[in-house]
């Protein structure tokens, strides 16, 4: 069951300079997929195209069976939530409470319903005590949690995390990853966009983008085993993975060591 289908998608910011070039991709309902790529590989552009913030030159995007175009864009946005990179630039409300409510207010939710949902989801992301606080009194990680609560309150099937952890400290990053894991278990389709392999290995599948093209798609295990593709992807490889490859090159066959390195690469 595919929730998102992308067919022959191309996009150019300037003429003849394609940020995305003939991208084909299907995303299954309920899976956690990472879109992994170096800076300028077109991964954020892809997220903006899926949610209709940019308009594709060529190609089609289907979300839940609906073709994305000018008429359906608002309907599709109700199915997709997106947490952006910069915690400050997506905080619309004057207080935490206002920000969680913003999306619901746009969708004309009932006031009682909104107040209940604000309580429920602020508790879920551990921000209940902060409801009346202003954003400048919060840390980056807390702001991102508020953003997550705002999207959960809108009850979207798909949540995109567009480099959402890249501006956070390690602690904030870990807590956000924890929430992503939980949300995926609860049945949400998760798309994490990142340049950090350590983050990508947590997901079910990985898509590697390079210069606007899909370099590889596959199960996380398969992708990590594909030494040649990874080496040509311009990505910074994880240290245990690098070691594993080096051991292979040197023809050292210690299964125990290899197994430990493999587990470390998978962040387990």
């Amino acid at each position: 069951m595919n929730i998102i289908e992308i067919k022959d998608l191309s996009f150019a910011y300037r003429e003849e300079f394609f940020a995305l070039n003939d991208v084909n991709l299907t995303i299954k309902r309920g899976e956690w997929i990472s879109i992994l790529g170096h800076n300028g590989s077109g991964k954020s552009t892809l997220a903006k195209l899926i949610i209709g913030l940019l308009k594709a030159e060529k190609g089609e995007i289907y979300v839940d069976g609906v073709l994305l175009n000018e008429e359906t864009v608002h309907e599709i946005r109700r199915k997709i939530g997106i947490v952006f990179q910069n915690p400050d630039n997506q905080f619309v409300g004057v207080t935490v409470e206002d920000d969680i409510a913003f999306g619901m207010e746009n969708l004309n939710f009932d006031r009682e319903d909104m107040l209940n949902k604000i309580e429920e989801y602020s508790k879920k992301v551990n921000m209940f005590e902060y409801l009346k606080k202003e954003p400048h009194n919060l840390s980056g990680g807390q702001k991102q949690r508020v953003a997550i609560a705002g999207i959960l309150a809108m009850n979207t099937d798909i949540i995109i995390f567009d480099e959402s952890t890249s501006m956070l400290d390690p602690k904030g990053r870990e807590s956000i990853m924890e929430y992503i894991r939980d949300l995926n278990k609860e049945g949400k389709t998760i798309i994490t966009i990142t340049h950090d392999m350590k983050e990508a290995v947590n997901s079910d599948r990985i898509v590697i983008l390079k210069d606007g093209k899909v370099l590889a798609v596959g199960e996380t295990n398969t992708i990590l085993n594909d030494k040649e593709t990874l080496n040509s992807s311009n990505l910074e490889l994880l240290l245990p993975l690098k070691l594993l490859y080096k051991l292979d090159e040197a023809n050292i066959k210690n299964e125990k060591v290899k197994n430990i390195l493999w587990q470390l690469s998978l962040n387990k």
Binding site: N89, V92, V94, D98, A101, I118, E134, H136
Partner: protein, 321 residues
């Protein structure tokens, strides 16, 4: 940078805090109109007492209002002097000849120098300034030894004095009333109240909800931008820009070195924010439900009726007396 307070709001529990922001804004409007309807000095002084009564009920310390008046002190002084000097009708209150001689000119320079160097140590600087000006004027009229440089008549008329006091009291009333509003209402409530009051403007295609949203986003980003400005100033200082000193030409360069990055960052931010808002199903012009609601209660109705009574009686006084 963690405790930036936007606006002048001071938390409190009095009657004025419990009122609906809409009724407070309306009451402010009505009372301001009344202040403009009065034409007689005695009536407006009654009104000043009324305003003091509001302060008493609201439990607002007079000192806080005085602080609110400080920025318009110079304006008050100017209007007062102009009124006194240029209205030449009514009875003569004071007539004197101001004579400038070499001796009192020297003394005047000394006094001004003395004022210049001591003013930073005086607590109420404004009163000190008035005291110095009055002192100089008295000296010019009474202490005139030596060779005369020039002399002129200085006459104060009754109408000038009354007109000047009248305008001063009226300005003080208006500023005090608006200070009461901003002291007792949170910026967000004020914004929400304005949104509701400006709703009739929708007829002429001005969307009050959008205006309110713009104001609330501006309020939300003031601390963020101040933080940003602070960071940029530190960054520029580390490159050798000295923000505290320099000639006017240097000052302009310093400000440019702050403003250019601020502008670029703000545009980037607003672009991101627009994306985030659109992604969360914001459609400009569409109706939105709200979590904040305003509760209009009986006390608000009573206050408004009272204010309207005040307005009507001021009009009556103006027409019939």
């Amino acid at each position: 940078m963690k405790n930036i307070i936007v606006g002048q709001y001071v938390p409190g529990k009095s009657f004025l805090y419990k009122m609906d922001p809409r009724s407070k804004i309306l009451a402010l409007g009505i009372l301001m109109v009344s202040a403009f309807v009065f034409k007689d000095i005695t009536h407006i002084i009654y009104m000043l007492f009324g305003v003091l009564l509001i302060l008493k009920i609201g439990g607002i310390p007079i000192m806080r209002i005085a602080r609110g008046l400080r920025p318009i002190m110079i304006l008050l002084l100017f209007t007062f002097s102009f009124q006194v000097m240029f209205i030449k009708t009514g009875d003569v209150v004071l007539e004197t000849v101001l004579t400038l001689t070499y001796i009192n000119l020297g003394l005047m320079v000394l006094i001004i120098l003395g004022w210049y160097f001591t003013r930073t140590y005086i607590k109420s600087r404004f009163l000190f300034l008035i005291f110095v000006i009055l002192g100089i004027l008295t000296m010019l009229s009474l202490f005139t030894p030596g060779i005369t440089i020039s002399s002129s008549n200085f006459v104060v008329y009754e109408d000038g004095l009354l007109g000047a006091s009248f305008i001063m009291v009226r300005l003080i009333i208006i500023v005090t009333l608006s200070t009461i509003l901003t002291l007792t209402t949170k910026p967000t409530d004020l914004n929400l109240g304005l949104e509701k009051i400006l709703r009739p403007l929708n007829i002429v295609k001005i969307n009050s909800e959008e205006i309110a949203l713009i104001i609330s986003i501006a309020l939300r980003y003031i601390p963020t931008l101040l933080d940003e400005a602070n960071k940029i100033m530190l960054a520029q200082a580390s490159r050798g820009v000295d923000f505290s000193e320099g000639k006017i030409k240097d000052k302009v360069m310093q400000i440019i070195s702050l403003l250019v990055p601020m502008f670029i960052i703000s545009f980037k931010r607003s672009d991101d924010l627009a994306n985030a808002m659109e992604a969360r199903s914001f459609i400009p012009g569409n109706p939105r439900s709200r979590i904040h609601i305003l509760a209009w209660e009986n006390r608000d109705t009573i206050v408004i009726i009272f204010c309207i009574v005040v307005l009507i009686s001021t009009i009556a006084v103006r027409v019939f007396l």
